[in-house]
């Protein structure tokens, strides 16, 4: 499965901005066998970056043990309407995707 859609929601909390991001990704462990008994090769997101107004605020390294179609929630300090939030990922095949949203 190639990279499918991503979705992000940013909402203002008290003193922070709640960011929830969904990504379509198989997160294959390399241990699972398909219906024909063949091992499905490892395919998983390794890096995740969150940027606020162009500046990196969170760098994550993750393993194949994160569930398929990953969902992450983060909290950013403060936050105001108009803030631009960007989330991008990179997987072990070198594929990547990104999504951005403006806090409303």
């Amino acid at each position: 499965m190639a990279a499918g859609p991503m979705k992000m929601r940013a909402s203002l909390g008290t003193g922070f901005t709640d960011v929830r991001v969904l990504m379509t990704h198989p997160m294959e462990t390399g241990l699972r066998k398909d219906a024909d008994g063949k091992v499905v090769p490892q395919h998983f997101i390794q890096n995740l970056t969150v940027k606020l107004n162009g500046k990196t605020v969170l760098d994550a390294q993750i393993s194949q043990a994160v569930s398929r179609n990953p969902v992450f929630s983060f909290r950013l300090k403060g936050g105001a309407k108009g803030d631009k939030i960007e989330v991008s990922w990179l997987d072990n095949h070198g594929e990547s995707a990104a999504i951005e949203t403006v806090v409303a």
Binding site: M1, G4, P5, M6, K7, L22, M23, T24, P26, S67, R68, N69, P70, V71, S73
Partner: protein, 236 residues
Amino acid sequence: MKALAFGAALALSCAAYGQDVAKEIQRYRQMVAEGSPAELFELEGEELWKKPQGPKNVSLQRCDLGEGPGVLKAAYAHLPRYFKDADRVMDLESRLLHCMSTLQGRSREEATARVFGSADRPSEFELLSIYIAGQSRGVKIEPGLSQPKEKASYELGRALYFHRVGAWDFSCASCHGDEGKRIRMQELPVLYKPEAARPVIATWPAYRVSTSQLVTLQWRMNDCYRQMRTGPGNKR
């Protein structure tokens, strides 16, 4: 309410300890629901609804799901229902297939080549279903029951529900027949009672945690029959 019945069932066997198990499983389900990627599939379904396809290269946007051509609001909640143009009762999938054939000019063979998808690639019906069901949020589920053919379908469904068959002698009621029963930790709603069925049916189509897969009610019933040890309702 659900949690209460669940707790009570467990309490019979292991007293206070059971209450904790029930509470924790409830918490698990709630946390999973909060982190469900189901919304991603609604977006994909919306794209498919609007995408021109088939020999006529048109989208499904003029499809009449019972509330008028192109009206999605509340359509899913009122299915299955009788459609005059087809002179029969249709559920969401059969109505979508009707539109794929009449509007888009697609053949039944092509459109139904893949009714149930996989975790890697949900089927067109699954993606369309979750998008369309999403437009019935908050609407009471009330399938058609006034027209004679609607009544006949209902009676047949009821007979099928209690029909014991297959290598293990099950009917739907073998598991979904009495209040407060479970398979493993899964509570079993008594689905022939509308008040018990409504809140359950409202959660479908669903993102299934065990297989990370988007699944529809048709899939759910087909897979129940698999576990009842009969053959499937789809040819594949």
